[in-house]
Symmetry: C2
Subunit: 338 residues, 2 copies
């Protein structure tokens, strides 16, 4: 039995999360029972939703249990199998958690999925061709429902969701404007990801200033907004929304540390007859095949060139995760475990 | 030519509206041109949306022009006609404004509509079987889309919209809970309008207190909310919304005096995967025939027994309107002009 390093949630954050909330431990991988599969993780995905799960309060995700391995998406290789569905050497994606190995019940529908790494690099199945990509797809296609020529905006523009969003929206003939933090991200968004424009929220002290900048970048107003952050950016975008605009609410990372961030002017929902809808992509499994197929196609054709920020080794996961919450990553934040 | 008393918007409110914003004047009704119809108004409708139009800021309604007759729905009798479509004696509904007479262009589609007063009293075409009734219908049927057994809540429960809402929602097998102000309205809501329960927001100093009361009144949570007021009541309802709940945003009367009222905890939209949608019923004319037909049926069968608060004489309109904004009316607020 190989040794298996794990990171547990040791205690819940009070305000900002810190590395002291986590605890590194080690165990042995258990003997497989019939129907089980042992996976050696190559990459662990770090995602903003994990911060919500660290709190004990009502959240869209079930709280992460204390003393248990932190949950999270993983890609890796089957190293042992007592299931006819998988064999050693299969490359797979699943929710393996913050650890080097995990045991899956192969009979549980959707728990573990084989992936093809001939055209799509393995790690992309945690990003552009995985949960973040499908998240962008659902918000754009099912909530924003853009028409060609319309303007759509996404916050956290250079993250895993934002970079998939711009490819999907450009493929539909939209003007696509991002919001991100800092000159490097702005340049990356416009030069590499294909955004028509990208706003640096760090250049704006308040929502009114960012609203004015958005007016220039979106001369026809904003028809659809994909919200990853909340707070000041949402306040800045709302006054620029066109009548009958749609806002897909995917994340409010700006409020994850516990300060509830108000929406300053909800009367705009009425005045502009907006639709605002929150969603969690794991509740819409029916769209995954179609979405993944489109995303893989954009990767294969080069229209979607995701960048990754990769931390090395399980021990680096907590620090990398806290960096993600502060926007230090560019593109998909991963931890390489081999 | 009969004399025609009119009320104009004289100046815009700074903060609270007051009677000094209005000016009474008198003119002669003009000679009719071909295709025109002269209507003598029996009733003028007073509605919260008019307060929004008094401001010059962006609002869902075009601002009311200064020095012009205040806009508003009217019912009355055709007294002269140069159109083959209408004859003297026809009872009609239209947007005649705050005046005793108005001239309509009969060729303009939808400007003037004949109504049948054999089963439905004339004034109801401004309330239960008019714009407020269709407003309730659209928000309930097209946005909330309730299923039998679900719980729906409406604020300003005893107003024209609220009293239509409860009849429409009960007809669909819902548990219907209202929010209104003061013991008389609460008793009226439960005893006469058929609400399963009605909360008195004046008994609650803050949103948390009202949230707790709603928990008792809505033991299965809230699946749909029809919002007429905004502010504290919206903050109180949101934490009790069930996953995938729908909020139809029709009015935010609490913020009409210019203080922007924030939404305290928009992260709930994400956590509970809510849909919030603003709408204006005049933009959905396609539903009016179906909605009016259902509403007239509920009136005829006695399931919808609207109450009216009637001010006498055009001169009483400003005071009655300000009373409406403070919730002094029960049911539909009208001004009798004959």
């Amino acid at each position: 039995m190989p040794a298996n390093k794990q990171i547990l949630l040791d205690n819940r954050p009070v305000g900002e999360a810190s590395t002291s909330n986590f605890r590194l431990t080690s165990t042995e991988t258990p003997e497989l029972r019939d129907g089980q599969v042992l996976v050696k993780h190559h990459f662990l995905s770090l995602d903003p939703y994990m911060r919500g799960r660290m709190n004990d309060s009502k959240s869209y995700a079930v709280p992460q249990a204390l003393g248990q391995v932190m949950g999270g998406g993983t890609v890796g290789e089957v190293v042992d199998s007592k299931s006819p569905k998988f064999r050693a050497g299969d490359m797979v994606v699943g929710m393996g958690g913050w650890q080097q190995y995990s045991v899956f019940d192969a009979e549980q529908l959707g728990a573990l999925r084989k992936v093809d790494t001939t055209k799509v690099p393995l790690s992309y199945y945690l990003g552009a061709v995985g949960m973040p990509g499908v998240t962008a797809w659902y918000g754009l296609v099912r909530i924003i429902e853009p028409q060609a020529g319309q303007t759509v905006v996404v916050s956290a523009a250079t993250g895993a969701v934002g970079s998939a969003f711009v490819a999907l929206a450009k493929a539909r003939g939209c003007r696509v404007v991002g919001v991100a933090g800092g000159p490097d991200k702005i340049a990356y968004a416009v030069d590499e990801l294909g955004f028509d424009a990208c706003m640096d929220y760090k250049q704006h002290r308040d929502a009114a200033s960012l609203t004015a900048a958005l007016k220039e970048a979106c001369p026809q107003g904003i028809d659809g907004y994909f919200e990853n952050v909340g707070g000041m950016v949402l306040d800045a975008v709302m006054p620029r929304m066109n009548d009958f605009g749609r806002i897909a609410l995917c994340g409010m990372i700006a409020g994850y540390d516990g300060k509830p961030l108000p929406m300053t002017y909800p009367a705009l929902i009425l005045m502009s007859r907006l639709k605002i809808q929150g969603f969690i992509v794991s509740e819409h499994m029916e769209v995954w095949p179609e979405a993944l197929n489109e995303l893989a196609g954009h990767v294969a054709s080069g229209k979607l060139k995701p960048r990754e920020t990769i931390a090395q080794g399980l021990e680096a996961a907590p620090e990398a995760f806290l960096g993600l919450l502060k926007g230090k990553n560019v593109g998909k934040q991963l931890v390489k475990l081999i």
